[in-house]
Amino acid sequence: MFGQLIINGLAVGSLYALVALAMVIIYKASEVPNFAQGEMAMVSTYFAYMLLISNQVSWHVALLGTLVFAFALGMVLEFLFVRRAKDPTVLDLIIVTLGMQLVLHGLAGWKWGPDQKDFPLPISDTDVVQVGGLVISYLNLTTMIAALLLMGLLYAFFQYTKIGVAMKATQQNWMAARINGIRTNHILGITWGISSVIGAIAGVLFAPTSTLDPHLMWDPLIKGFAAAVMGGMNSLVGAALGGYLLGFIENLFGLYISLEFKSIVAFLAIVLVLWFRPSGLFSKHYERRV
């Protein structure tokens, strides 16, 4: 029973971890808490749906097309909206991303209507693999592997590529990055692109278990956000761990306390974690200097 709990927790946690990672990548680079993250992923998922259903392309092509679309979407949003705000406060940034959220939510609803659609990913949610009494669906397995793979790729990207190191430098010290010749505006655009791609993957993996409608990513968004906050908002490792932790806690709560109220666990977790560690579990706390 407990082993199964861990498996289920890991599966759903992988999804949260992906959303959290997408969030943290942007937050680290520019301190923008991206409330549009969920809708960006939702729109990308719809794009995949459109390719699959209306254009009848094979799902490999659809997936690739979706990733390209997601990357472009992220860069375009950053360029069109986020960059326009001059000397923004935290509230300004939240409002801008909420504005983008509304725009994307509205556009998706306008384009594809409010009715719920089934997302035809050719990986089964019901067929299962059995390993030593533990059961896991093909989709969950794919999600877990995809999450691990992406984390590995991200790690390699930040560790070994010049642009990855430049991105880390930009995250840590904007001004210092500029005086070393890093074009921080480009870096920011790429950051949004990468984040959007990660979100899109989460969306495509999540859609089959839910139904595709404009509200698709609301729940994963707040869970991902909660995971990111638990991890500390500016630690990639923290975000991933936060995701798994939240998935696990949620399943634990669902099993032993109440299945009905499982979805408020995220809120309780945020409040509890932040009460004891205001900057998250895996992050240093900085005092403001005067």
Binding site: V90, G99, A226, S263, L274
Partner: protein, 349 residues
């Protein structure tokens, strides 16, 4: 400009004759309005007035104290459900019920304000967002609250007076709105209000001047939750029924939009913002009927998007307005109003 003779004139509500005249005209208009207006507009104005209460309260938190909340739909729901249930199950009279509901919301606001003491910026936003979603989840799943079907609101009665239609509810709502807006204005102009703004502008300096930050931050949360709770209670009567879907994340964002559109940190702006956003929100529900624009949008929908999804145009527009305000006019409508006032002052008469 006339000369001041007394410091009291500094703290008065209406500073000169022009303001007094405008204020008088406003009151007379509000009194006469139900006698001359068609029913539909009374519904609209009720809806706007309730949003004014929320926006004023939320602005005390966001605009004045500089704390963010994306969970005010939660307080709105608490107020609506508490008022309705108190009246339905315990037969508490309306005025008492709505006051209790307000204070209940304030108590939740205080509780949410406690973790908020240690959080700032995005952390606070996400915690409050989680709160709002938690409230609707709980309401939707507990049988007492009527689950997803919701509850029917009882008739609004104060003693022998029973408000049977929008016109009579108008009287009650307008009194609440008027008094609560005035109260907020008084609060912002005195010691408490200054302390709130001080926390927003520089919490460190505020502390060093003896402002108890913990007290005022939780106070701001409680007051703003009280306003929202009372407004929620009133909204139950305007709608006639309540269910959890009314109080979702989009509602919270809409409240935030009202504050931002009106101008963070001004009471007058809150009134303007609530009015404009509420008006647009109602009007755009049938956007296809607006001449010109409506036809164009229908054409656009047929050609590229979908006609069944056209109501979503509201979200797109509101989203763009929010972004527009941050980029071009941080003070929102109030900022535009200030500028035009300066323009007219120098206009050659």
């Amino acid at each position: 400009m006339d000369m001041k003779r007394d410091y009291f004139e500094d703290v008065q509500l209406l500073k000169d004759r022009a303001q007094k005249i405008w204020f008088g005209i406003l009151i007379i208009t509000l009194i006469l309005f139900p006698f001359v207006s068609p029913n539909y507009y009374i519904y609209l104005i009720n809806y706007i007035a309730i949003n004014v209460i929320v926006t004023v309260g939320l602005n005390l938190l966001i605009g004045y104290t500089g704390q963010i909340s994306l969970g005010h739909a939660g307080f709105f729901a608490i107020g609506a459900y508490a008022t309705t249930l108190l009246m339905l199950k315990l037969h508490v009279p309306f005025l008492l019920a709505i006051l209790i509901a307000g204070f209940l919301a304030a108590a939740f606001g205080f509780l949410l304000g406690l973790p908020a003491l240690r959080l700032e910026g995005p952390y606070l936003a996400i915690a409050t967002l989680g709160f709002g979603m938690a409230v609707t989840t709980i309401i939707g799943r507990v049988p007492l609250f009527g689950g997803h079907m919701g509850l029917q609101t009882p008739p609004l009665s104060i003693g022998p007076f029973v408000a049977k239609n929008d016109r009579e509810i108008y009287v009650v709502i307008m009194l609440f709105t008027f008094l609560m807006t005035l109260a907020a204005r008084n609060i912002t102009r005195t010691r408490v209000g200054r302390a709130l703004i001080a926390i927003r502008d520089s919490d460190i300096a505020a502390e060093a001047l003896g402002v108890n930050i913990a007290y005022y931050k939780t106070l701001a949360f409680a007051i703003s939750a009280f306003y929202t709770g009372v407004a929620g209670g009133l909204m139950a009567f305007v709608l006639g029924f309540i269910n959890p879907n009314i109080f979702d994340l989009l509602q919270s964002i809409l409240f935030l939009a009202m504050v931002v559109v009106g101008g963070a940190g001004t009471i007058l702006g809150s009134v303007m913002g609530a009015a404009v956003v509420s008006f647009l929100h109602i009007k755009l529900e049938a956007v296809q009927n607006i001449p010109g624009v409506g036809q164009f949008l229908v054409y656009l929908s047929q050609k590229w998007l979908s006609v069944s999804g056209l109501p979503n145009f509201t979200f797109v527009l509101f989203g763009l307005i929010l972004i527009f305000i941050v980029v071009f006019e941080r003070l929102g409508l109030y900022g535009i109003w200030l500028r035009s006032k300066i323009y007219w002052r120098t206009w050659p008469f």
